[in-house]
Chain length 146, copies 4
């Protein structure tokens, strides 16, 4: 039933992602979601580049932030949203072309705080997968406002 | 002379910002720049929102990252670019409408590493200024590739 | 009256610091405390060195963590303790001899989360003051267990 | 031969750890080391407690910092030391008694920068293993000064 679907991890993330203007603008797409884990993708385009023509660190940071946030959303109460308290990201290498995939994982699902990590991989058109960035994040469940 | 202008803090940041597809896309503009300090602005639009209609954390993170990076660029050798090694951002409050301003400041300008902090303020249409996020960042000067 | 003193910022921090085995062990002392701000000191000794003979990063990290935590404690409800959710520290320079002072400041005092920053200075025996490290931190007020 | 042993991962870490006054003071011991990975232990004692009697966050932070640093040391040039540029740690749970183990792993071994992660586990006397903290860290190889 629709009611049940709304609270499935996939439905929750899909419905929230569609409401994110920035993510729609950049071209972020959902790869996979399950309880405690979310994988998002971002294709290379001139909307996400920095001054040397590679994927912008801001794009990697935003993608990792959202992947961690949606991993957290899947374990939050069904009447809650999650908000990012803070995150920290290390960049390992810069990449041009292909897609970025960010995989967020929940490490701790507390009532007041959710702790996650995310890995950002570059997926080359030839299939090569390279770790580009790693993130640690703190989320807080908050009352859903819409 | 043009040659000299190219290495002024303003000219360096302006020229680099124009090359950043993502920042152009989001609407980021330069407010002020001097040696060791850079202030950037970002107007509210549906390109920078999250699922509840406020400025996206990813937009705040990208703006802070760039403001810190450009503050660093002003103290890097003139034949160098800077690349973000890592940053960490804490979000203090969510805001809708108005503009965000991020002010990056250099704390340490080393040969191999530059350490910065940035504050992100929300500027309400009525002029109210609210601290929204704080960032710490590590940059590395790298050889300019263009 | 004793009852009132217990809830003054100074009394709260002093009473808590005396209970911290690790801080007693390392020789941490209270410099100053007021609502939203706490300054702690740590003298150089062979209890706080790393392999090259300078102050250990772990000692700087612990001192900054505690200074931020006690700044937070001064703004938490009087029946609460605070616990560190996370922190991030950048090291600017290594120092030998003298004292370290860490100054924690509250940026946001929320009901569920408190956000702080701390600066760690080295105080040379000749009085020279050098910024050594900067920290950002998230705290959570928790029920006092003693 | 002694010359060769000095550059084995185990010998490098062991020799450096013995020089760290703070780690000797706290009781930190080496569990295992191989290229790109280092595991350290810390027994519970009143030298490492906070005000509620649990392991101090500062002790967890120092242990994680060192485990990451030594993981990095194993992949640095043999005439180099490593210094911590920055780290960020999230605390998941507080523990009393038993031992802490921190496992540092190298994610990227660059010439100028080494990126690591560390997990801190609590090992209960009954053998139960609980993830207590996670860290991300940036190291820089530096010239050995001793």
């Amino acid at each position: 039933m629709a009611e049940a679907n709304i609270t499935s991890p996939l439905a929750r993330v899909d419905s929230s992602l569609a409401r994110q203007g920035m993510m729609q603008q950049l071209g972020v797409y959902l790869v996979a979601v399950e309880a405690g884990r979310c994988e998002l993708g971002l294709p290379f385009s001139d909307k996400v580049t920095q001054q040397q023509g590679s994927f912008h660190g801001g794009a990697m940071g935003a993608l990792a932030d959202i992947a961690g946030g949606y991993a957290g959303l899947t374990v939050a109460p069904t009447d809650a949203e999650v908000t990012t308290v803070e995150y920290k990201i290390n960049f390992l290498t810069a990449k041009t072309g292909g897609d970025l995939h960010a995989i967020g994982r929940v490490l701790k699902a507390g009532k007041r705080l959710i702790i996650t990590q995310a890995d950002v991989f570059h997926i080359d058109p030839d299939g090569t997968r390279t770790l580009c960035a790693v993130m640690q994040q703190t989320l807080a469940p908050v009352h859903k406002q819409y």
